[in-house]
């Protein structure tokens, strides 16, 4: 397992999460502490152990490919912070 040091600024960027300098400092200390605790998993030999992603393994859950009613357009837009002409309004993405 890796060392218990987190580059909080970099990880916050990956998570698209703006943090204040105080939050960065506090999170760094707390997460160092938590990661230190998590290190105990290293004691276990998991060679040849299959990972468990879901406790009830089910695969290929499919349904008939049929058109069915879904959320109405206006209902989908009802909670939008900004909308216009039936669309979500977002900042400019491409020049």
């Amino acid at each position: 397992m890796a060392s218990a040091e987190i580059d909080v600024k970099y990880v916050a960027h990956l998570a698209r999460l703006a943090l204040t300098p105080d939050e960065e400092k506090q999170l760094g200390a707390q997460l160092g502490n938590i990661l230190g605790y998590i290190e105990k998993l290293r004691e276990l030999d998991v060679t040849n152990v299959e990972p468990t992603a879901h406790a009830v393994p089910m695969v290929n859950i499919t349904r008939a490919d049929e058109i069915r009613p879904s959320l109405a357009h206006e209902d989908a837009l009802r909670n939008a912070p900004r909308q216009s002409n039936g669309l979500f309004i977002v900042p400019k993405i491409v020049e």
Partner: protein, 484 residues
């Protein structure tokens, strides 16, 4: 007091026309008016809407209609979508969000005739063990308002314990139903992974989350589980397993059943009064004719660490959807990335930020195998411990929590200590099995409820409810009320 009734008591009175659904609903609303200023179990509730549903139920009753929950007021954790009602997950980030549809469990409650009302307080996005992480203020324990009700479904537990509703729904990712049920002195059931559809539940950790009931007795838990269970095409993780008649399992006869006592659960940090209550419960089971067998769950000590990798990893992915585009209280930015970061920085509280950062880190390039994959492998070992134990027993008996309710503020400054308070409940979610907490006694001074946890096989809820019910009927604990 109609608000103090159980589901089975209320539905019997309604059927005999001794009382109306309106009177029962009004009694709950009056109790909220009287005590919720102290308890703050509810973030909000729409009294007029609840009474309108009650009137509709009364009309059906007087026309001779029968239904499992007809006229029963049931309140809901603020993590489940109820059409036309606010949904905030006790977070600032969702702003004025109004659910455009009903969760499957809400559809089922309504189809069974329930009066679905209220938004119950919780730790923000179900992350926490004390309901102190809510952006809408603390919920207080009805037995001692200086103490926390547990979490994350603290509002759901407190509302039932304070008789502000007849029953409630919560969600359980690492103990968030069983732990607050234990600390507030009510019954809390976490069904097997896949038993209940999560459609309309805001996802925290998708491989762990389950919805379940809070009730005043085990019979009500069986009734509600019967209503909530079943496969749902809108949740591909729900399992097409037959839904049995859970109430029929409540025979009171547990002679010859085998109960496993894990030696790993009776050590370190376990409060003496909690231990004494659990020991007494084990004796009671023997008196009732059950056989106690010692079992071992050797990887217990690794469960909390495993959980905080898997749960935070999944949370960091699930919470990516709260970005200020389709919903959320948006904070503008020059470009989409700045908008996302500012919206999320302003909207999420400290514990949610902590878990997003931890989860993002354990999934990030170079660390995924060392943390996430490693934890998934340890998860296999934990699950195998349980499957092996269940070869020797029908259910496992443990304390639900290492201590009774702690004081508000006592652990909020130390996230790791808070995480360790879930030590007995977390493995159940990792293994995907079923679990229930029932009252098993009280501490002396102050008088605080103690919870007994029973863990059952995957889809073993019938046995679990049978055992819990037999214990409950042989003990007085569930009849005690918080002195509000």
């Amino acid at each position: 007091m109609l608000n103090q009734l159980t589901i089975s008591e209320l539905t019997a009175k309604l059927a005999k026309r001794e009382v109306s659904a309106r009177e029962a609903t009004q009694a709950c609303l009056d109790q909220i008016q009287r005590v919720d200023g102290q308890i703050h179990a509810f973030i909000s509730h729409d009294a007029a809407d609840a009474l309108a549903q009650a009137d509709a139920a009364d009309k059906l009753i007087s026309s001779g209609a029968k239904n499992r929950l007809l006229g029963v007021p049931i309140a809901v954790k603020d993590v489940l979508a109820v059409k036309g009602q606010p949904l905030n997950c006790a977070s600032k980030i969702l702003g004025n969000f109004i659910s455009p549809y009903d969760a499957t469990v809400i559809e089922k409650l309504k189809a069974a005739g329930a009066i679905v009302f209220g938004r119950l307080n919780m730790d923000e996005f179900a992350m926490g063990s004390s309901t102190e992480n809510s952006a809408f203020g603390l919920t207080r324990n009805p037995w001692d308002t200086t103490r926390i009700p547990g979490g994350s479904s603290g509002g759901s537990a407190a509302a039932v314990a304070a008789d502000e509703c007849i029953a409630s729904l919560g969600s359980d990712t690492g103990g968030s139903i069983r732990q607050p049920a234990a600390l507030c002195g009510c019954v809390g059931l976490k069904p097997t992974y896949g038993r209940v559809s999560r459609y309309g539940l805001v996802a925290f950790a998708s491989s762990l989350d389950q919805i379940g009931p809070f009730t005043k007795d085990v019979r009500d838990a069986a009734t509600l589980l019967g209503v909530l269970s079943g496969v749902d095409p809108r949740d591909s993780t729900s399992v097409p397993e037959v839904v049995p008649n859970y109430s029929a399992a409540l025979t009171g006869d547990i002679r010859g059943m085998k109960l496993g006592l894990p030696k790993e659960y009776m050590v370190g940090g376990l409060d003496a009064e909690v231990k004494a209550s659990v020991d007494a419960a084990v004796k009671k089971f023997q008196e009732l004719g059950a056989e106690i067998v010692e079992i071992s769950l050797p990887h217990t000590d690794y469960a909390v660490a495993t959980y905080y990798i898997i749960a935070t990893a999944e949370a960091s992915a699930n919470l990516a959807r709260f970005d200020g585009i389709r919903y959320c209280a948006r904070v503008d930015g020059a470009d989409p990335i700045e908008l996302y970061a500012k919206t999320r920085g302003a909207g999420f509280g400290p514990e949610v930020k902590r878990r997003i950062i931890l989860g993002t880190y354990v999934l990030s390039s170079g660390y995924h195998d060392a943390y996430y994959l490693h934890a998934q492998k340890v998860r296999t070992l934990i699950r195998n411990d349980f499957l092996k134990a269940f070869e020797k027993c029908d259910a496992i008996v443990t304390p639900t929590t290492p201590t009774a309710a702690f004081k508000a503020g006592e652990k909020s400054g130390d996230p790791l200590q808070m995480y360790l308070s879930d030590i007995f409940t977390i493995s159940c979610n990792l293994a995907g099995i079923s679990g229930i907490s029932v009252p098993c006694g009280f501490t002396k001074n102050p008088k605080l409820p103690i919870g007994l946890q029973l863990l059952g096989k995957p889809f073993g809820e019938e046995s679990l409810l049978k055992i819990a019910h037999a214990y409950e009927q042989a003990t007085p604990w569930h009849q005690e009320k918080a002195g509000l």
